[in-house]
Symmetry: C2
Subunit: 370 residues, 2 copies
Amino acid sequence: MVLSFALDGTDGRARAGRFRLPHHEVLTPVFMPVGTQATVKAVSPRDLCDLGATVVLANTYHLYLRPGDERIARLGGLHAFMGWDGPILTDSGGFQVFSLAQRRTVDAGGVTFRSHVDGSEHRFTPERVIAIQENLGADIIVCLDECSAPDDYEYNKQALARTHAWAERCKMAHAGGRQALFGIVQGGVFPDLRKRSARFIVDLDFDGYAVGGLSVGETKGQMHRMLDVVDPVLPVDRPRYLMGVGPPPGLVECVARGIDMFDCVLPTRSARNGGVLTRARRYNIRNARYADDPAPLEVGCTCYACGTFSRAYIRHLNWANEILGHHLITVHNLHVMFSLLRDVRASILEGRFEAFREQFWRARAQAGQE
Amino acid sequence: MVLSFALDGTDGRARAGRFRLPHHEVLTPVFMPVGTQATVKAVSPRDLCDLGATVVLANTYHLYLRPGDERIARLGGLHAFMGWDGPILTDSGGFQVFSLAQRRTVDAGGVTFRSHVDGSEHRFTPERVIAIQENLGADIIVCLDECSAPDDYEYNKQALARTHAWAERCKMAHAGGRQALFGIVQGGVFPDLRKRSARFIVDLDFDGYAVGGLSVGETKGQMHRMLDVVDPVLPVDRPRYLMGVGPPPGLVECVARGIDMFDCVLPTRSARNGGVLTRARRYNIRNARYADDPAPLEVGCTCYACGTFSRAYIRHLNWANEILGHHLITVHNLHVMFSLLRDVRASILEGRFEAFREQFWRARAQAGQE
């Protein structure tokens, strides 16, 4: 295997592990910031280093369309292109084709769609998506999947058949690569489909397993139920990646259900509109109550933004539409995600994850958040 | 005096000096990046430190309107507010009132105008502008002046009378402050008005002298002629600040005419639209020719952007409307300004400024730029 994974400790179903790639080692659980267009919005690679980011996500669909995967290959691959030496994971583009692209038609062979940028027509097949991801050169790549509405059983059943066939073809197409390949478990909110999908994908023997199609409108209870269903099927010795999750409570609750890897646009996307994350709550800096507030974004936080600037200043920047405001909230929000999972990991290794989880929820209740 | 200035060396009319403030020493010639709304666009204070910025400019008009000078005073002043420990210079707001504000009416006592933000009515008088700048708490503040079209003799003559009366009142209002106060020489493109203005303002005995109302549409020849006229009138032992200049050639040519301090939005403003400065030329990264270009923004440049990223990547960021593109070009453009004046200073101290200047122009001619 290109990627080897080992558990350093467990506490209940929560796992503290590490995976090794040819040039890197990554401690889990890990939050991967999203660099859709080969940049994590509003921060530089050196900011990410300072924050302790380890793995960064980039988006196959976006980079294929612009600036083009072949161009990135000519320029030395994604690491050189975006100035990030650490591990990179590219998704398959499946989610974006099914959420962003226009006039898509799916058949057994793949999916044809029009670019959301310029309307041009394109086709993704399993083989093509692997080739694109090989051009990009990320350390971890994932199979093409079909993302369906989570609560339509018949559609999910049909989509699952395609997703499984595509996973087989991706595995074949990738044979011999230096990149780790993750399979994706789908199946909507249906326990039987999820279990069947997990078994099928695990039988194909991937470097790691992504759980896709969640965090797209289903309830938290449904999401947790799906994780409960796939947990016993997924092998202990491979990393598990929950795609698109999530807010701080999502990280804690899904670590509690055996997840090792996360990605989410929340910390970077909400920053643009003044949305500040803390462990205990979420608030908007644009609120008038912060106009004269000399406190940092989160009292006690050790990030650059909180060590240097007041809420009053960052609110001013936000109202004045200054980039620095977007940057500083992004720095803080990412710090919250990374430091939360560092603390989660320590609590697992010390056998006090449940106490940590209770304390986490108590602090949120005190702050008036669910 | 709050500010003391000494010359370390001269070469022709070019000056290498330093000024001391209670907590800082600044080497000249110096380029001051513009932080209109209490932030230099697209960079953080730590970026500015890394770049070797010494003095930062902030804007009285903008900060008075939003978030308000009294609010900034309550929050501990501009240094604490914007997280910048180094020297800050605030302009008087005069230029913005005469360029940005709506429905302004000038009388002998001051100027009444409507905010460009919300249309509310405000009045700046010399005393009010000093009080606002005392609230902001910058290290160097400047007198209220009237900025007129540069080529209307009669209007300039009248405006100059007001500017001079306002300078006297600013000087009176400021008596005893801990901030250095600069007077502003006006007079459009008219040698007699400029000379009269310089004499009048110098007689009032300020900590330093700004030359205003240039870089607003007159020719380079006219600007240089005005500097030639005021040069012999301005005292040798005070810093001279040319407001709103400028591009790299402007820095070199105006240092050659005795200027010590500069500010300009060019490096930060042009970055937003992909405008890249180098010593030899100016170009736009959006141009198709850079789509596959693995070279840095400026070959041989030692800034973070050039040390890490290619033109192809930064062009991609610009087309994809990513903040990091704006940030990286800003970092590079500011580095060009700072490093140019560091080299200019060294050449003055070593008595080879004229050779430096010739080489500077030769490189531009080779690059096909005027």
